[in-house]
Symmetry: C2
Subunit: 198 residues, 2 copies
């Protein structure tokens, strides 16, 4: 809430304004729905502020989240808010010209580009969608990720989604929400449907 | 996941296609962040399908969620996907001409309009943002809400957000996610910031 009052004032040598504008790392994890959808919801706020938004989809399928992708592209091209760049591992990252042998290599290529964009301060909000998986599987070193995020220049907010995000990342993150599944229609024999699941 | 296989096939007399296209009620509840942002993320998918989307914000402040509101309005007017109607309790509902005495009355006016729109099948996705509160506070009768939702005609998906959603609603809903707060920057003395909290 905009009017929210912090319950503790930390002894970190920062003014309230400095603390307020501190760049944040968000993690949306857990077994329930809403991890990525909430990340794309955050992208709407960033767009409204005129921020450049970069989305990196660390998933195999190129077809995932076509609704969000199209919506954010239309917003990015509307000339009203910020720009949106959408990068998909599932189609082979656009900046990689050669064939990528494995998902593991593809995930690493994605992370290398994220590192370059963080160094260049290309975006003000980065959505690393499903990035928890390559970390969980050990394809990308979590300690390196934490270290790169800790040292990133400027004001770059980063949202990481996916189940089973490693503890070291949760420890480092500023905000962690666990989307806890209470009930899901697939438990009762319903398949995913257009407009709802994608 | 689009390719997700249900773990159980129910004995409900429906075909897979009928079951797949069954209208759903979602509840996003819990203490953590992401309840509303995930609802607006779902609205992006609905927009992409060309569905008319209706948002009813059951909150006092007219300033809440300005980012999501502007983004969805730009999308609704882009001529590319579905339409978006955005209704705010905080400004006094647009269809109410007289002064509304209390938040309780305002919430009830909102629910009356939702009932009319459900009966008329005005939208294909309805986002009842923060609607859990008037239910929790007893301003609107949860049993009536469940009964109206159960009997709604056609294919109308409904998303309800807010902390402390009543059990009877959770029991009835098709999908419930509890956004569980693991860590939040306000716990460490950080105030909300532009582009992130609103």
């Amino acid at each position: 809430m905009p009017q929210g009052q912090p319950s503790v004032v930390p002894n970190d040598g920062l003014t309230t304004r400095q603390r307020r504008n501190r760049p944040l790392v968000f993690v949306h994890t857990g077994q329930g729905k809403g991890k990525s959808t909430a990340a794309f919801g955050l992208a709407l706020r960033a767009w409204n502020q005129g921020w450049p938004v970069g989305v990196f989809q660390f998933v195999k399928s190129a077809k995932w989240k076509v609704g969000e992708e199209r919506a954010l592209k239309v917003l990015g091209e509307s000339g009203e808010g910020g720009t949106v760049a959408w990068h998909k591992m599932g189609e082979g990252w656009s900046w990689v010209q050669r064939d990528i042998a494995s998902s593991e290599d593809a995930a690493r290529e994605g992370w290398e580009q994220v590192k370059r964009d963080l160094a260049a301060e290309t975006y003000k909000l980065l959505v690393l969608d499903e990035f928890a998986y390559p970390l969980k599987w050990g394809w990308i070193d979590t300690d390196e990720v934490v270290s790169v995020l800790r040292d990133r220049p400027g004001t770059q907010h980063v949202v990481i989604t996916g189940r089973g995000a490693p503890e070291a990342l949760l420890d480092f993150a500023d905000l962690v929400t666990d989307m806890t599944k209470v009930k899901h229609p697939m438990d009762e024999g319903q398949k995913g449907q257009r407009g709802i699941e994608w």
